[in-house]
């Protein structure tokens, strides 16, 4: 397979293709008739998925360094070049994105009824932004994609969202933008300090990474700026209040992408930028303690508040806060197991919560309500839906054998040596997860079938089953045989740990030759 890929020079053009293809796709979607918009969108996104699958083999699992790097000058005067590349971590996130995109498009077949052309054009633009963020290796390019993504999601929530969409859309936009603008100042200062020390102006990730020490006393401030921007995205405890509103008001496809991929940009940011750039600050006792405490609060707080939500979508939103609390704990766990666990949660949470939102979308299409109390006893009426819904709920609870468990287990196992007390408290999150999700599951599909409207619900049709199958396969496969995924991410995890372990300030000779420092 790798031979075939090398023969067509796959490595050179794939990353550019993945970014440009959706943009090209926007044209036929906008120009074509309203009805065929979704079909074109599905075609483009599926093509994107097929193309991206090649990455799985194109990436050499042996080396933890950045691969398939290509560098085209963009603003030479400021040392900015369109520099892209991937390693284990970004590979997995790109694949998650390209997998979920066609599924979300298929999921909104019946859900989006007006201005379909605009919706699917925005979805394709969002795909470009999401893929771009994960492969950008130039801080300027990363920042551009990091912000550009806001527009499609802002419109998706704002135009096709629920009744309270305007408030949710503007809150989402301003919240994220405030964080990212702080990061903008941090990037400019970082580049300036590195240039002052090395005499060479460049935004390229490798250059900045090896010389980030040049920042000297400013490091805590810069780390704080990066950390706030990503903390809002993750979201970490005090910055999370935009998430429930955005989730509840966004249409199904919006919620799926928001939860499954956009939240991971925050944790990806920590893994790629915030911690490696300023390891002394990030892993210093005070900062680590703050992050771990916030993560644990996020886990327990998210779970508890989720328990009392009347609206199922808000419940899932708060459950995301809880799950991503685990990811943060894992990143700061500081062992190969904990970081691998974080990455596993990033993927499995993407799949499970994506599936949950899709299912909620389907039942919403039929019943037009998100209040848990309006349902009840529908297991007899829609057995297939209930079975899939139960499986997905069990995977979110972290039932061993399904995908949720692997990540959470590795995170807790890995973080125990560094933070025993925090890990034990975080483990209680496992209990609350069972409590709130099962309670919701029971109130929705079990209990008495006492509402007439529930009797006329129709079970899942062919399309809905088709889009759920890949996710279900993912849930079971990642649960029982996560080995290939773990193997591909391990070198990148090791490299992250080398970069961030205290005392690793000097440029690290990674396993393979790092990509040349000066282009």
């Amino acid at each position: 397979m790798t031979a075939f890929l090398d023969s067509i020079g796959y490595g050179q053009w794939i990353l550019h293709a993945l970014v440009v293809l959706p943009l090209l796709g926007v044209v036929p979607v906008l120009l074509g008739p309203e009805a065929s918009a979704k079909r074109t969108a599905l075609l483009v996104t599926s093509l994107e998925l097929i193309l991206s699958l090649g990455l799985w083999w194109a990436l050499d699992p042996g080396r933890g360094t950045l691969q398939l790097v290509s560098n085209t000058p963009w603003i030479p005067g400021w040392g900015i070049s369109y520099r892209v590349g991937i390693d284990g971590i970004s590979l997995v996130m790109v694949l998650l994105t390209t997998l979920l995109m066609p599924i979300s498009v298929l999921g909104s077949w019946r859900y989006i009824t007006r201005q379909e052309r605009g919706f699917y054009a925005l979805m394709l633009a969002l795909l470009t932004g999401l893929v771009g963020v994960f492969i950008a290796l130039d801080l300027f390019v990363f920042y551009i994609f990091f912000e550009i993504m806001l527009i499609p999601m802002y419109f998706i929530i704002g135009i096709w969202g629920g009744p309270n969409r305007l408030y949710a859309a503007i809150k989402f936009f301003i919240y994220t933008m405030a964080g990212s603008l702080l990061m903008l100042v941090a990037i400019v200062v970082l580049v300036w300090r590195v240039q002052a020390v090395t005499g060479y102006l460049s935004f390229s990730y490798d250059h900045l990474l090896t010389n980030a020490g040049a920042v000297g006393p400013l490091a805590p401030w810069l780390f704080a700026a990066f950390a706030v921007a990503f903390a809002i995205k993750v979201p970490i405890f005090p910055f999370h209040t935009w998430l429930p509103d955005a989730h509840v008001e966004a249409p199904t496809a919006g919620s799926v992408l928001l939860a499954a991929v956009m939240l991971k940009i925050g944790t990806y940011g920590f893994l790629r930028f915030a911690v490696p750039f300023f390891p002394q600050v990030a892993l210093s006792p005070t900062v680590s303690r703050i992050v771990v405490v916030l993560a644990v609060i996020g886990i327990v707080y998210g779970a508890l508040v989720a328990m009392v939500q009347p609206d199922i979508k808000k419940l899932v939103a708060y459950s995301s806060v809880s799950h991503l609390g685990f990811v943060m704990l894992g990143i700061w766990g500081g062992t190969v197991q904990s970081v691998q666990g974080s990455l596993m949660i990033m993927i499995s949470h993407g799949i499970s919560t994506g599936a949950l939102f899709l299912l909620i979308g389907m039942i919403y299409e039929r019943r037009h309500t998100r209040e848990i109390a309006d349902y009840g006893g529908i297991a007899r009426v829609v057995p297939v839906f209930s079975l899939i819904f139960t499986v997905v709920v069990l995977s979110s609870i972290g039932l061993p054998g399904l995908n949720g468990f692997v990540g959470e287990f590795l995170v807790l196992l890995g973080s125990f040596s560094a933070y025993p007390l925090a890990t034990v408290i975080a483990t209680t999150g496992v209990i609350f997860a069972a409590a709130y999700l099962l309670w919701a599951l029971q109130r929705m599909i079990y209990n008495r079938l006492d509402k007439p409207e529930n009797e006329r619900l129709s079970d899942l049709n062919g399309r809905e089953l088709a889009l759920m199958t890949p996710l279900l396969i993912g849930i079971v496969w990642l649960g029982l045989y996560p080995e290939p995924v773990l193997r591909r991410m391990e070198p990148a995890t090791r490299r992250y740990l080398q970069l961030t372990q205290p005392g690793a300030a000097a440029p690290v000779a990674a396993a393979g030759p790092t990509i040349e420092v000066r282009p």
């Binding site: 079975l387 054998g401 209990i431």
Partner: protein, 657 residues
């Protein structure tokens, strides 16, 4: 030797059964015939494989467990966890018990659940349960065991809430799962400790590395074992996490027999035996385990005295008997614990299935006359001996066994536990107290069993004249398994006959390789000669006295039917209301947590503080300042010039300085 390589087949067969039955369940047309063949058939095949594995094991050198690795499951850095099964003496025994008793219960269910619309779904869940139980028993490392551990919790959730249209059943299922989950929290933390201290989660390696790496009786090993035991209390319904088991009776009776008597609830005992080296190294924890075991035994027994629902009595009896098993493993008699586990599986399954056929008959009768009496309430039964002789005699055997009357199996296993507790007393006097509690509990056990038997089978019939005609024996498909279980309950003792009757502790020597690691630290010598006889005599005496008192007390009083029964009073009321423990839990734990999350966290912190004050607050503040700014813009040129001048003066002052 070859046989143990096929052990994965034992798991694969029920899994296949689950898939087939699951598919059949989803199809509208009920394929009862196909399901009745696949369901039990798959179990019987698995039982056959287990026997093969057991035989294969006989030929192997005892001290090498056979690890069958299917595929690497989780690898991250130094951590390497494979999906692997460990076939050794202990797992072989458990394999036999689970598949054996399981098959019998599957056969019984064919009769019991025939008319139920969810027939296929029932068998799908039951098969899935056996899959997870086997994974639990066969797991070669903690995480694989944990798959089984949570899997059985899931299946018990599904099966308890099987008739989910009733909110009570669904609630019972949820309560069971969440309480199990609280226990699982303990197992998880124990795993993290083990990983940090020993760097491995495989049982074989734990047994090998523990003595060296961990300080005997030290805080670490005590903490690990206490956390493991927390998991066990959740799974095996010990104080404080037992309240889910009585509510689990909401599920179909065969489920109670299989899951809540024979297999799942014994998982806790199995785990303690599997990690016996750790418990042996932590005498303090063993004392705690034994203590809670004894306490639960006596506590549950007292509640059973005043229960009127036949299944609730048996449920509390199970909790009590499990207490005995933990008393055994707590006093380092690991083999004794397993022995009682096996015998208990036989006679408790028999009792539950017996109760099942009684309830089945009562349902049939009430159904015929369209009356809405409670088919499970003993106060509506009485005198069923004439109508269901086979069930009566078989349940009688089980009652004698559980009461510990020789030569039945219960006598041997219970006696060995009491003896080992007494022997352990020599080293730690607290065990004498446990011994006393054990004996008292044995007395109460005999008493409530006798009360159950007399209320149900003897004395005048209270079901009602019309219904009496419809009361008749269960079909052979249901009484057949009862018969087999009856025989097993009777002769079950043979597998571990003690010395004074010429036996050579077969089971104990069979399990020796597994318990050897633990034995190095804490070995219990059963008392010999006179003390042994005295203990045995005492136990038998207590059993007989209990039975007689129970019979006498119940037969003496005229028992009113459930409808006219007077409200309980005083201590009886407290026992009947199970010490109001559920209500206490609800008030002390559940309601405050819900209140905390709704009022304090969600409304208070989330919407009030973070969202209200911080986010919307800044928005309102800036809009307010903006409004102020536009008010200043009065349109009066005079004001503009004043402000202009203020700015000018400020700049001039700044420039001059």
């Amino acid at each position: 030797m070859i046989a143990s390589r096929w052990v994965w087949l034992a798991v694969a067969l029920p899994l296949a059964g689950f898939l087939v039955n699951g598919a059949l369940a989803l199809r509208r047309a009920p394929a009862t015939r196909a399901v009745s063949i696949v369901g039990p058939g798959v179990l019987l095949a698995a039982f056959a494989v287990s026997i093969g594995v057991f035989a294969g094991l006989l030929g192997r050198p005892p001290h090498e467990p056979h690890i069958v690795t299917l595929w690497p499951w989780m690898t991250a850095g130094a951590l390497r966890i494979d999906l692997a099964f460990q076939v050794d003496q202990l797992s072989a025994v458990m394999l036999l018990v689970v598949t054996g008793v399981g098959s019998l219960i599957h056969l019984f269910s064919v009769g019991y659940m025939r008319e139920d619309p969810g027939y296929a779904r029932y068998f799908a869940y039951l098969n899935l349960f056996v899959v997870f139980m086997l994974v639990l028993v066969l797991g070669a490392n903690f995480p694989v065991l944990f798959i089984g551990w949570e899997g059985v919790g899931l299946c018990s959730y599904l099966l308890i809430g099987f008739w989910f249209t009733e909110e009570a059943n669904a609630n019972a299922g949820k309560k069971a799962f969440i309480m199990n989950r609280i226990g699982d929290f303990g197992v998880l933390v124990a795993m993290f400790f083990l990983w940090r201290e020993l760097g491995t989660l495989n049982f074989a390696e734990i047994a090998a590395r523990a003595p060296g790496a961990l300080e005997q009786g030290g805080t670490i090993v005590t903490l690990i074992t206490l956390f493991i035991f927390l998991g066990c209390t959740g799974k095996s319904a010990q104080i404080p996490l037992y309240t889910w088991l009585p509510d689990a009776m909401a599920g179909p009776t065969p489920v109670s027999a299989l899951i809540h008597a024979a297999t799942m609830v014994t998982a806790g005992v199995y785990l303690v035996v599997r990690t016996n080296v750790l418990f042996a190294m932590a005498p303090l924890s063993s004392a705690v385990v034994a203590g809670i075991g004894a306490l639960t035994a006596i506590f549950a027994a007292t509640i059973a005295l005043r229960q009127y629902d036949i299944k609730k009595v048996l449920a509390y009896s199970t909790v009590s008997q499990l207490g005995y098993m933990f008393l055994a493993v707590g006093s380092a008699a690991f083999a004794g614990g397993i022995f009682h586990l096996a015998t208990h599986a036989f006679f408790k399954a028999l009792l539950f299935l017996g109760a099942g056929s009684v309830i089945h008959a009562m349902h049939h009768a009430y159904h015929a006359t369209h009356s809405h009496e409670d088919a499970q309430d003993m106060r509506n039964m009485g005198g069923l001996r004439e109508h269901m002789p086979v069930t009566f005699w078989l349940m009688a055997i089980a009652t004698l066994a559980i009461a510990g009357i020789p030569p039945l199996s219960g006598f041997f296993s219970k006696d060995e536990i009491l003896a080992s507790a007494f022997a352990r007393g020599a080293e730690m006097p607290i065990y004498y107290v446990y011994y006393a509690l054990g004996v008292l509990a044995a007395l109460l056990t005999a008493f409530y069993m006798a009360r159950l038997m007399t209320m149900t089978f003897l004395g005048p019939n209270r079901t009602g004249d019309e219904e009496r005609r419809h009361l008749h024996e269960a079909p052979w498909i249901m009484t057949g398994p009862l018969l087999v279980l009856g025989i097993l309950s009777a002769i079950g003792g043979v597998i571990n006959l003690p010395a004074f009757v010429g036996g050579r502790h077969a089971l104990e020597s069979w399990l020796e390789p597994v318990t050897a690691a633990g034995a190095a630290f804490a070995r219990v010598e059963l008392p010999h000669g006179t003390t042994e006889l005295l203990l045995v005599g005492g136990a038998v005496l207590v059993g007989v006295v209990g039975l007689v008192l129970g019979y006498r007390a119940t037969l003496g009083r005229r028992v009113a039917t459930a409808r006219e029964a007077p409200e309980e009073a005083g201590l009886a009321r407290v026992l009947n209301r199970k010490y109001y423990v559920d209500e206490i839990y609800d008030a002390a734990v559940v309601r405050p947590v819900v209140w905390l999350s709704r009022v304090v966290l969600w409304k208070g912190v989330d919407q009030g503080l973070v969202d209200g004050a911080a986010v919307n607050g800044t928005a309102k503040l800036s809009r307010g300042l903006g409004w102020l700014g536009s008010r200043v813009q009065t349109g009066q040129v005079g004001l503009y010039v004043v402000l202009f001048l203020v700015g000018a003066l400020w700049i001039l002052r700044a420039v001059i300085r």
